[in-house]
């Protein structure tokens, strides 16, 4: 009899435990998510922003037409989800993309959302509207769009000059929110109005950013949080100490360097931390328009001298990726496979052999042990630029190149690079969308504003267009790999490594996913919740 009672008690207990566990796993409503912000963004307008310092706090204010699934770390064509658009379809010749829009959505000021707002947004981005953005960094994304047209209040079409399947990827980026027609770009910089899960409350420069729950959000029951508060802390040590002390629920996304991650794990062992690629490459920009780097042999020798693994080991304790222009797999969709990568000069594992070859090229160009080439290695005055630049200078010594570090203040860095006032530079290039169109056209096409090295190869540009129009991902990939390989062989902008960074949150923060191939697209936070 006693055993029967014991069995019954055990069954009851396990049922109770199971039901409690289920309840514990269910999202809870309420609470303010407290995060620190790494710096004070220039303003609140994502369309004008060119740093994820704007996307992180303000992405929750908006919606896109489509969005990458916020709970799948890898952004890919398969993870595109409808948002303000309920569905989309391509015309048979793939030159017209039509969206059916969601009805009953309201802006935070109560006005209804319609197709006119979508048209206004893209006219603004394409520079076709009366009102202008103060700066429009992603105008080039829409260079293949002829026109955006409405058909009634809830249908919108993008007419393209040629097929461009990657347009959807760009529309899904955190950089492409839909703005209201009735609010000016100037107002959007100071008081953004969106349709998103959170309403803007206030932005005190250098102090804080506050968002509150949108009770009329069109996704019923969301968001779970009552609000999000970002405290702006520019000093990384202070910010991390504050996280460790429990002042914040989460660190700023991908803000923790690998060495600092160890500190956090030792001081806050319960914190959940993840390390993901940021899709920011560290690369060398070479002024190939003037001596000595107008000589392809010297450029090739420099590329051969790179010991990429040493960079990764020193700066990231082994936790960064070696690749070409596109982020390498498995996180990157379009990066070259390892076997292909290793066929590129300088990527082979035998660094000494590479450097011997590099020395021969230098000697051919007239340099050797008795005649070193003196160069200035310019870089921006930020640690993530300076540190690899110092390693680069050290590595170049092995092939008779004596580098001198030329540190340039942030305000002067781009003007200096744009007027080609440098010999060799160490630069960082971020990709907001893991798609070749964004990277190739922006950084390597002839005449592009961000093609700092003036690399221009008409043949390869034709290949850019070929891959861009390919709708079949499996066919597009080999095309992209061939282009990427050619870019590396031409020493267009040698890629040293792709960085990784960490993000941590307290154990009671649930529903956070850090994107693994973009630092710009994963901050809607509508279903993040606090288990406390």
């Amino acid at each position: 009899m006693r055993s029967v009672w014991a069995l019954a008690a055990m069954v009851a207990l396990s049922v109770l435990t199971a039901s409690t566990a289920t309840r514990a796993g269910e999202p809870k409503q309420g609470g303010i998510l407290r995060m620190y912000h790494r710096d004070s963004p220039a303003n609140a307008s994502i369309l004008e922003g060119a740093t994820y310092s704007v996307n992180v706090p303000f992405m929750g204010v908006f919606n896109n037409l489509v969005i990458y699934d916020q709970h799948i770390a890898q952004n890919s064509p398969d993870t595109l989800r409808p948002e303000l658009a309920e569905s989309w379809s391509w015309s048979s010749d793939n030159t017209k993309l039509t969206f059916k829009l969601r009805q009953g959505v309201k802006w935070h000021d109560g006005k209804p959302f319609t197709s006119a707002d979508v048209k206004c947004t893209f006219d603004l981005l394409m520079g076709k509207s009366q009102q202008k953005l103060r700066q429009n960094p992603r105008k080039a994304w829409y260079s293949e769009v002829n026109e955006v047209t409405t058909s009634g209040e809830f249908e919108i079409s993008f007419d393209l000059k040629r097929p461009q399947p990657s347009l959807l990827a760009m529309l899904a980026s955190g950089y492409t929110p839909i703005y209201p027609c009735h609010v000016s770009p100037a107002e959007m910089r100071t008081h953004p109005i969106g349709t998103g899960p959170f309403k803007f409350v206030e932005f005190k420069a250098n102090e804080s950013i506050k968002l509150t729950r949108n009770p009329d959000y069109w996704k019923k029951g969301l968001p779970y949080l009552d609000g999000i508060e970002y405290t702006i802390i520019t000093n990384r040590s202070t910010a991390i100490l504050a996280f460790v002390a429990g002042k914040f629920d989460m660190t700023f996304p991908t803000h923790i360097t690998i060495p600092l991650l160890k500190d956090i794990k030792s001081q806050a062992p319960n914190a959940t931390c993840v390390v993901e690629p940021t899709n920011v490459s560290t690369n060398i920009i070479v002024n190939s328009t003037s001596p000595p780097f107008d000589n392809i042999d010297i450029r090739r020798a420099m590329a051969l001298a790179l010991d990429r693994k040493a960079f990764v080991d020193i700066l990231f304790e082994g936790q960064a990726d070696i690749g070409g222009t596109m982020l390498p797999p498995p996180q990157g969709i379009w990066g070259m496979p390892k076997d292909k990568l290793q066929t590129i000069p300088g990527y082979g594992p035998d660094v000494n052999a590479n450097r011997e070859e590099a020395k021969k090229l230098m000697q051919k160009a007239g340099y050797g042990p008795d005649k070193h080439l003196a160069v200035k290695v310019s870089t921006r005055n930020l640690a993530e630029y300076r540190d690899p630049a110092v390693i680069l200078i050290d590595q170049l010594k092995s092939i008779y190149i004596d580098g001198e570090l030329d540190v340039v203040e942030t305000a002067n860095w781009f003007p200096k690079v744009a007027r080609k006032d440098y010999m060799l530079g160490l630069n960082l290039t971020g990709s907001s969308v893991d798609d070749p169109d964004q990277s190739f056209y922006e950084n390597y096409s002839c005449g592009s504003e961000r093609n700092y090295t003036n690399y221009c190869n008409k043949e390869i540009e034709k290949l850019f267009d070929v891959q861009s129009q390919e709708t079949d991902v499996s066919k597009r990939k080999p095309l992209v790999w061939d282009i990427d390989k050619k870019l590396q062989e031409d020493v267009a902008r040698p890629i040293i490594f792709h960085a990784r960074a960490g993000t941590c949150w307290q154990p009671y923060v649930k529903g956070v996913t850090i994107m693994s191939n973009s630092s710009y697209n994963g901050f809607r936070y509508e279903d993040v919740w606090l288990d406390k």
């Binding site: 202008k132 105008k139 405290t231 202070t238 002390a245 305000a411 002067n412 744009a418």
Partner: protein, 315 residues
């Protein structure tokens, strides 16, 4: 006295005019402007967009015209608009002033209330173990950079108490408000206190050897009366000078302390504004600081007369 005051006030105006010219033109000499920075962040530049933005902000105008526009506005109480936040500069600066003022005031209070008594004790106990200990403390204060001290305090707080004395914008009680400012004020005031202590000590040592001190002792005055009433009163002048100078130099320490303790005061705001080349904010803030420094010097000069009856400002 009146003529002296008028002369000093006139000199102050001339000084402030000179400072305004220097601030304005130095700021323009620094390479890059807000438009460069905005476009640099985007990694590209469209010359037409750039020109349009420069026109909107008025930085395409000749420098003299820009200067006159600024000074004209300043005299009318119009400080212009921040280039970054697009809000009135006054609205951006004003709420931050009390925060920094409280911090600076508390740091100076810390400096004087710790530095002067310890300086006196060190002088009176010259050559003793206590004197040596205090001298080591003061030397440490002068040697430790305030940012390092600040970080050390934060790290120790987290490691020992699991808490962090970081800025609380909405303190509920007076005590909470005091706690918010006390730790950073101590961090920034430690160096000042050390300097005050050293100056007080050396000044006191000089005074304590004077005949009238011996006379006071001979007349039966207590040690405390001799040290604090007779000696300190005469030794205080150089200390006041140092505190006055420290008040001006404090802004440098506050920039670091406000950053480390994440205090949204004017000092940190100034650094951010310089980073963005936000001319309206930088110009007006530096001008404000210049006014404070000039008035602090003026006040110190006036205090001389109050503390030392032998000094009178006459024609």
């Amino acid at each position: 006295m009146f003529a002296y005051l008028v002369r000093r006030l006139f000199l102050m105006l001339v000084t402030l005019f000179g400072i305004s010219v220097v601030i304005f033109f130095l700021l323009r000499i620094v390479p890059g402007n807000i438009v460069d920075i905005l476009f640099a962040a985007a990694g590209y530049v469209d010359p037409a967009d750039k020109a349009e933005l420069e026109k909107q902000l008025g930085i395409d105008q000749p420098l003299v015209a820009q200067y006159l526009h600024w000074i004209g506005g300043l005299l009318r109480g119009d400080l212009g608009y921040s280039y970054v936040s697009e809000k009135p500069a006054l609205q951006e600066i004003l709420p931050r002033i009390p925060i920094t003022a409280r911090l600076a005031g508390l740091a100076l209070l810390f400096s004087a209330s710790i530095g002067i008594p310890l300086g006196v004790i060190s002088a009176v106990k010259q050559g003793t173990k206590l004197d040596y200990a205090l001298r080591v403390v003061s030397l440490s204060g002068l040697s430790l950079p305030s940012f390092w001290l600040g970080l050390l305090i934060l790290t120790a707080s987290v490691a020992m108490f699991g808490q962090m004395p970081i800025f609380n914008p909405n303190p509920k009680t007076w005590l909470e408000a005091f706690a918010t400012y006390a730790v950073p004020a101590a961090a920034v005031g430690f160096r000042s206190a050390a300097l005050t202590m050293r100056i007080t000590r050396s000044s006191m040592l000089e005074v304590l050897r004077q005949d009238y001190i011996r006379t006071a002792r001979a007349k039966g005055a207590s040690e405390a009366a001799v040290n604090y009433h007779h000696a300190l009163k005469n030794a205080i002048l150089p200390v006041i000078t140092v505190i006055g100078i420290e008040a001006a130099f404090l802004i440098g320490g506050l920039i670091v302390t406000e950053t480390v303790f994440n205090i949204p005061g004017v000092a940190r705001f100034l650094v951010e504004a310089i980073r963005w080349r936000d001319y309206p904010i930088v110009q007006n803030l530096v001008m404000f600081i210049a006014v404070v420094v000039v008035f602090a010097n003026f006040t110190v000069d006036m205090l001389y007369a109050v503390f030392d009856p032998r000094i009178r400002y006459s024609e």
